[in-house]
């Protein structure tokens, strides 16, 4: 302590200078608006200069990446321009799903060929692989009801295996009881307004006017209304019962359909392909 005191005393001129000079500087900066503003700015000037030089170097180094991204953006804008030039009334509609944001994308398409009178009916629509359509994608009608599955795809057109086809099976639920069944068409029936739900376990009690919805098991999103029960007593002779339903959608007047693009369809297919075959 004594030594410190001696040291301070010996160089008191210097320490006094530091003290008083600091006071002076502080007074200057605190009380003069100009100096105060410059205190910050002058440092910025130096720092800014350094950063500017650094930026030039950085810009040069990243030139390649920037070029690539610009080219990609150009291409994207050009395609957008082309699409905008021939406007299509059918647009993409996105379903908001807060859980898997969004899992399903609805792609609207116009029906250009349809049949209802054959045993196996096929619909043709004006969207194809160029729009992201792939085989086995589910198709629904704009109001209520399912339409079928995509069968084949060309670049700008695709064919849909309509519900009115012997190979089309859609997994459905009775809305009230959650009983699972499968929707088919055409067993002893050629009415395009009617269909059958088969393989419902016998113990379920089913009323007339019960709503049938999709179960979500056969690539359709769950909960799409399909039709209402019109006849519950269709004899089958086994442990399952069949019911007759009236379809919500009218295939004879079908104009537009929505193709549902499922984000996880491929993933699901791959996952399920790993299951050992029975």
């Amino acid at each position: 302590m004594r030594n410190l005191w001696i040291f301070l005393n010996r160089y008191n001129a210097f320490f006094f200078f530091i003290i008083f000079f600091t006071i002076g500087i502080v007074l200057t900066v605190k009380n003069n608006a100009y100096q105060r503003s410059v205190t910050v700015n002058s440092t910025n000037e130096v720092v800014g200069e350094v950063y500017q030089n650094l930026n030039v170097l950085k810009k040069y180094i990243t030139l390649g990446t920037v070029n690539d991204s610009l080219a990609a953006e150009n291409a994207k804008l050009k395609t957008e321009l082309l699409t905008l030039k021939n406007i299509d009334s059918a647009k993409k509609i996105v379903v908001k799903d807060t859980l898997n944001n969004p899992q399903y994308t609805y792609l609207s398409a116009r029906v250009i060929k349809n049949s209802i009178t054959l045993r196996n009916n096929v619909i043709t629509i004006n969207k194809g692989s160029a729009d992201g359509i792939a085989p086995d994608m589910p198709v629904i009608s704009p109001g209520k009801g399912v339409v079928g599955f995509v069968m084949d795809v060309s670049e700008h057109l695709s064919t849909i295996r309509s519900l009115l086809h012997k190979d089309t099976k859609v997994s459905v639920n009775i809305k009230k009881s959650d009983a699972l069944g499968s929707l088919v068409w055409g067993i002893g029936n050629s009415d395009y307004r009617k269909a059958f739900v088969k393989e419902i376990p016998n113990h379920f009690k089913i009323n007339l006017k019960d709503t049938i919805i999709t179960s979500g098991f056969s690539s359709f999103p769950p909960g799409i209304p399909v039709g209402v029960v019109t006849n519950t007593a269709v004899a089958t002779g086994d442990n399952f019962m069949s019911i007759e339903i009236k379809l919500f959608n009218d295939f004879s007047t079908l104009q537009y359909v929505y193709v549902i693009l499922d984000k996880y369809a491929v993933e699901q297919k791959e996952l399920e392909a790993k299951l050992p075959h029975e």
């Binding site: 002076g24 500087i25 100096q35 410059v38 000037e45």
Partner: protein, 171 residues
Amino acid sequence: MNSRLVLVNIVRWFVLLLIQILLLRNLSFYNMATPFVYIIFLLLVPFSTPNLLLYLIAFVTGLTLDAFYDTLGVHTAACVALAFVRILFISVTMSRDGFDEPEPTLGNMGFKWFIIYALLCTTAHHLVLFFLETFRLAEFSYTLLRCFFSIIFTLFTVVLIEFIFYNRKMR
């Protein structure tokens, strides 16, 4: 420090500050050279003044100047810097208790000593003053030039005043 010296210094303080504030504040050559003659007071404070007192005097002088120049702190810092250089210079050039003369005037100390003393003190004062006033490095060379011309101007004036008032004591 006898009472006569104190009185002389007080009078000198008032006179020099009045000159500086009323007259020299309005004086400037091409916006390049501005004289700050009031520092002559700080140069001539008696040898026997303790360091702390010297700093306090410098501080108060600077504050007074700042009050009139509207640049609070600038002159204060400059005067403190001057006091520091003055103490350094005197401790280097003179033995610790060998003050034959009461005041470091031109007449007492001789021309050569005084001119170096004044030059160093003025340089320290002006450098701090101008750079604190400009407060940016962007105009560094211009500020340095202004500083240089002002040092010459002030030094010239200081030596002139010394010659006028203290020449008769010349050894």
